[in-house]
Assembly symmetry: C2
Homo-oligomer: 705 residues x 2
């Protein structure tokens, strides 16, 4: 019967026009979309209006994710995986919130989520001219990058002085071409309110990650806090809940197949406007490198955590994030090959090149544009051995601690505006706080294996690294390096924060000394990156100009972690010949998957309530079961994690958390036939929160009785 229902809805769906279109539209550009004709009853101004309260005021950026205010008291719903770092760092073997979940019975019991911040977009301003006036044609590419960076910082500083208490950030919309300054309310006291156990919030784990069908309850609740006077200050006991200008009303009736949905959020980064040569570099060099390195690292962490839950907890957050990128990269590799993305883009570029060459003046100006861009990626491919060197101070946490400390000390001797962004006065607190969190999770035996492997790989580059080989730590000295360093001790690391480079050198910590010796190598890599960026910025600026002339249309800028809207409908798809996937999964499906072993262990209470059909008011009217996850054809990427899924009346019907495997290549190319995003159905989130874990007070706070 369910099959009949699914098929009938498919037939009905196919009679509908398809609403989705490519585009993570800047929130300021949605006026022309005519969403009214597509199922939305709100006007563009009701969604975003810098001068009045609007829907977008209810949406916030939570670190690299998105969240929604769902009550007048600053309650935020986002993903479990977005709160994961907080849940993990608050967990101990005796108080294991990852394993058991967390629930605060009242405000006093909500726990600070160290390192978490919340921002709300307040206004924006196109400042392209002011930014681009910083550069001259005489500059080298490195100088060009530095000039643009510095001008951006100046403009941010000036804006913050004009708007005390707000945070300013310049975003590059089109590389080398368009810049927009955003002003944010910036909240620094964020607390954990409710998290289901990982067996719900991460049900299916890495096996189901990036896959549809899905049965993951990937949601959690946080709360934003401010000082009694409303000021956005660091954690302080006297702080109280933040009152958002607007919150998103939760719709406990959820949504159904074919219904209009839109997502508002902060998608991180896409590469839709990049060349075929960039995609080839990704396909042949970077993605295979990432897959191989991350798989290996995850294996090491898994090995060392096998026997000891406390070691597993230390590694869990990092393993999760590496595994996420690893599998996404695999999906992208597969998609690039299967969907022949490079060939398609090459064909488009050949047409563009013909257009350019058809006009002598255009040919003079742009004739060599594509080949110059190609040359940059060609050089990167030839220098791929540098990837190992670049990755040392992230693969090895110890090297990351040492590098961040020393780099910070060097940069902090410069004028504020001259520094690398993480070390500027406005950012240094957060940089240090995150460093300390990482030190807390340091596990020397694993890290030692990883550093040894990285150095071995670097060594394999042979003659190419001859000039730096004396600067690398000797592989035979690593054991003693780990024996003698103090950088695994958070107190010691904290004591280094104010020190000058000379003072750090005087400590003679072997890990610091190793990085100090390598520091010139990294400074050269940084310069090379800035030079490359300067060159590509200029070339891509020209590319967008000539492409717009050719295609006679304006483009939607690539995602850049600024506020965007995307829309579509709840819709299944056919990922391959003879397979159709329908867009709503059920609790019954989750139960059918349950086994005795992770990641498919479902709490006994859920299985029991399912058997007893205790669905509360959250049963789907025709499926007669609680819907768990939904699938829709909007255009999303990383950073959309936690984005509200909003129905045609502006109400919240789910929380976005992933994409289908085929849609991992969304980052390179969107296509209605395979681009599908995945969200947790609000009915499942409410059922878990209220019916299963008894947090009825949160449902009441959201206005769900």
């Amino acid at each position: 019967m369910r099959l009949i229902a699914a098929c009938l809805t498919v037939l009905i769906l196919l009679a509908h026009p398809s609403w989705a279109e490519e585009g993570m539209f800047p929130i300021s550009d949605i006026g022309g979309l005519n969403l009214k004709g597509k199922g939305l009853s709100l006007t563009a101004e009701e969604i975003f209006n810098p001068d009045q309260t609007c829907l977008a005021d209810g949406i916030c950026k939570v670190n690299g994710c998105t969240g929604s205010f769902v009550s007048p008291k600053g309650l935020i719903i986002t993903n479990h995986h977005c709160a994961y770092r907080a849940i993990q760092s608050l967990s101990t073997t005796s108080n294991d919130y990852l394993k058991d979940g967390f629930q605060a019975q009242s405000l006093e019991n909500e726990i600070p989520a160290a390192g978490y911040t919340v921002r709300i977009t307040e206004s924006f301003e196109d400042i392209s001219e002011q930014v681009l006036s910083a550069i001259t044609s005489e500059m080298t590419f490195t100088e060009r990058t530095k000039a643009i960076e510095q001008r951006q910082k100046e403009l941010e500083q000036a804006a913050e002085q004009r708007n005390p208490g707000q945070r300013a950030e310049v975003a590059e919309m089109f590389a080398g071409k368009t810049y927009v300054l955003f002003l944010y309310t910036f909240i620094k006291d964020v607390r954990l309110v409710f998290a289901p156990p990982a067996s719900v919030g991460n049900y299916g784990g890495e096996i189901d990650n990036w896959e549809w069908p899905r049965h993951t309850g990937d949601f959690s609740f946080l709360r934003a806090y401010v000082a009694p006077d409303g000021a956005t200050v660091d954690y302080c006991e006297e702080n109280g809940p933040y009152q958002p200008k607007r919150f998103i009303q939760v719709e406990p009736k959820g949504v159904d197949e074919n219904d209009f949905v839109m997502l508002i959020g902060y998608p991180g980064r896409t590469s839709r406007h990049k060349t075929a040569s960039f995609l080839e570099y990704e396909q042949n060099v970077r993605l295979p490198y990432i897959v191989q390195l991350y798989q290996w690292q995850i294996e090491q962490m898994q090995q060392s955590g096998k026997e000891d839950r406390s070691v597993m907890l230390k590694h869990s957050s990092r393993m999760k994030s590496l595994a996420n990128v690893e599998k996404r990269s695999r999906g992208q590799l597969k998609g690039l090959v299967r969907k022949k993305i490079v060939a398609t883009r090459k064909a488009a570029e050949a047409e563009l090149q013909s257009f350019i060459q058809a006009d002598p003046q255009r040919n003079d100006q742009y004739g060599r544009l594509l080949s110059e861009i190609d040359a940059v990626y060609g050089e990167m491919a030839r220098n791929q051995y540098k990837l190992d060197i670049e990755n040392i101070p992230s693969a090895s946490r110890l090297m990351y601690f040492a590098f961040t400390l020393y780099d910070s000390a060097v940069e902090r001797q410069k004028e504020d505006l001259q520094r690398e962004a993480p070390y500027m006065d406005r950012n240094i607190d957060l940089t240090q706080r995150r460093l300390l969190l990482a030190v807390k999770d340091f596990h020397a035996p694993t890290d030692q294996i990883i550093l040894k492997e990285m150095l071995t790989r670097v060594g394999m580059a042979g003659p190419k690294i001859e000039e730096i080989s004396d600067d690398l730590p000797g592989i035979d000295t690593i054991a003693s390096l780990y024996d003698k360093t103090s950088l695994g001790d958070p107190e010691f690391v904290e004591s280094c924060f104010g020190k000058t480079p000379q003072e750090l050198e005087a400590i003679q910590d072997p890990a610091l000394d190793a990085i100090i010796k390598l520091y010139p190598v990294y400074m050269q890599l940084r310069e090379e990156a800035k030079s490359r960026e300067g060159k590509l910025d200029q070339l891509y600026g020209d590319l967008v100009t000539v492409k717009q002339a050719f295609q006679k249309q304006n483009f939607v800028p690539d995602a850049n972690a600024t506020l965007r809207l995307t829309y579509g409908s709840v819709k299944g798809y056919s990922p391959e010949d003879a397979v159709y996937k329908s867009p709503i999964t059920t609790l019954g499906g989750a139960v059918a998957k349950a086994t005795d072993s992770a990641p498919f262990i479902l709490p006994e209470s859920i299985i029991k309530k399912h058997t007893q059909q205790k669905f509360g008011r959250f049963s789907h009217p025709t499926l007669n079961d609680v819907p768990t996850c939904i699938l829709y054809n909007t255009d999303t990427t990383g950073g959309n994690s936690g984005s509200p899924i909003i129905n045609g009346s502006g109400k919240l019907v789910g929380v976005n958390f992933d994409r289908a495997f085929e849609a991992t290549i969304n980052d390179f190319a969107w296509n209605e036939s395979y681009s599908r995003s995945i969200g947790v159905d609000i009915r499942y989130a409410l059922w878990i929160t209220g019916e299963v874990f008894g947090a009825q007070h949160l449902l009441r706070e959201m206005g769900v009785e």
Copy 2:
């Protein structure tokens, strides 16, 4: 549009009654199935009739597979993977039939497929009483097994004397209870006629193996040859094509969704009547062991074949068969867990136990039956370290050569009827021919790694193997053992065939010597196995009796490589929540999967013909594309490979070659919701053979113009 079509047919299908039922029915037992009412226009007698020509005369056993005669001149269609061993052993790096395919333009060019035999079921007879009269209640379990084995051999010998030229074989239908003697025409000259390249016949390789959707052209053509006088003799140039009593007419129009289909073939082995404790042993001990060991072995072979196509060719057939079992075992493990098979069977046994205990007399007779069976598997689980010892002479090919030679020499000193079956006069030729084929594919460096690993594993059993540890080859002597042995030389191995044990001992070949030293250990394992078999035979005989009394119904016997029929219809399925798989794939789907790397390289000629829509007469009327594979809900297992898929008029519409991943647990439990088998659509086979590779003469021979 295709989606609409698929969905409409689903809706139509759901209005149909479902025809499939569990059961690989013995061909003699199909009278009661009422297939006429289910879409078949033939009577049971037209399908099988020992006294007259019938459909079953057109079906044969090809080694462990099934085949169909498709012309009056002995042309056989079976799977590519069934002919794989022949194609591989005929391939060289310069004449690579695996890579390029093979096509004989005329009879003279058909090549002998060494080691291949064909048998056709002629008649059968229930001989249970004669077999069971060989045992007495005083016998030990080992004696019981030996008595039954010997009685079977006597009956086979007698039958062959009564029916000169035919082959007799006794099959156990219900363990310890029912035995049937089959008479076969036994053809020993089989030749390769046509094979597509592996890029078609094994398209998708191990990735797609056991998966639906599928786009594999897994078919090939062989031909049976006999002497001019019709006698079934070994290969000889004068031999000519065998004239089957009947051949199966090919239906170039194929079949469509929901159509009735039946399969006739030789399914190998199922375990539907075994206990939960057997399933637990499989789930906890044997299957995980197989998965781990085979994965490791495959990895070694892959490593050593990486750089050298000739080494890869040597290993390819064995890798393919290990990979097949490894993935099937993984599927079974997953299915056992997900479908909670053990718990279901335990519940059924608890009910049976209550039934037994409800009657005092029944309780006296059967009360301890289940616990006694459980005890046998419990002991096997406790002795799982023996698996490593048992597997030495199959994992290591050298040990397999040595063991077979020495075991043969020892057994050949006994009376023919006392020998282990492979060494009886009627089987020794084939045993030796297969041994020589294996020697031809010997690759010492890989084998050495494998033997070393096996010995290391055996060594890990520690104190448990103390009493045999002196008999094991020392790990440090292995290199010299491989240096000095002559068993990698086919001529040397052949020269050993007639030798006595003493003569083999006198050779002082280190590999032979190693096995000679271990031989008593293997003889003890053989005795233990016979004892266990005797005990289980007796217990399972009783179990079937009491279960039949409880359930008041007769059972279909487990598969045992005798001729069976299964029926159902072409039908999709929903393997999990929110996923529906439709039952016909297309050439377009195959092309969409094609990449530049194996196993998804499709010959350029196929891609081109697809682009040009050169489908000949083989296009599906509504899909407008050549159908590649079909899915149906019949009950099959290994051995059904190559079985004809027969439509309601008795015509051949496809060739069965696999099951869906969920259906790997068919061997333990059949279920209409997930048991699906996979066949190549005859239209794809004909299109590939005639349109792509131009073998129109074969199409003509099959009556397809």
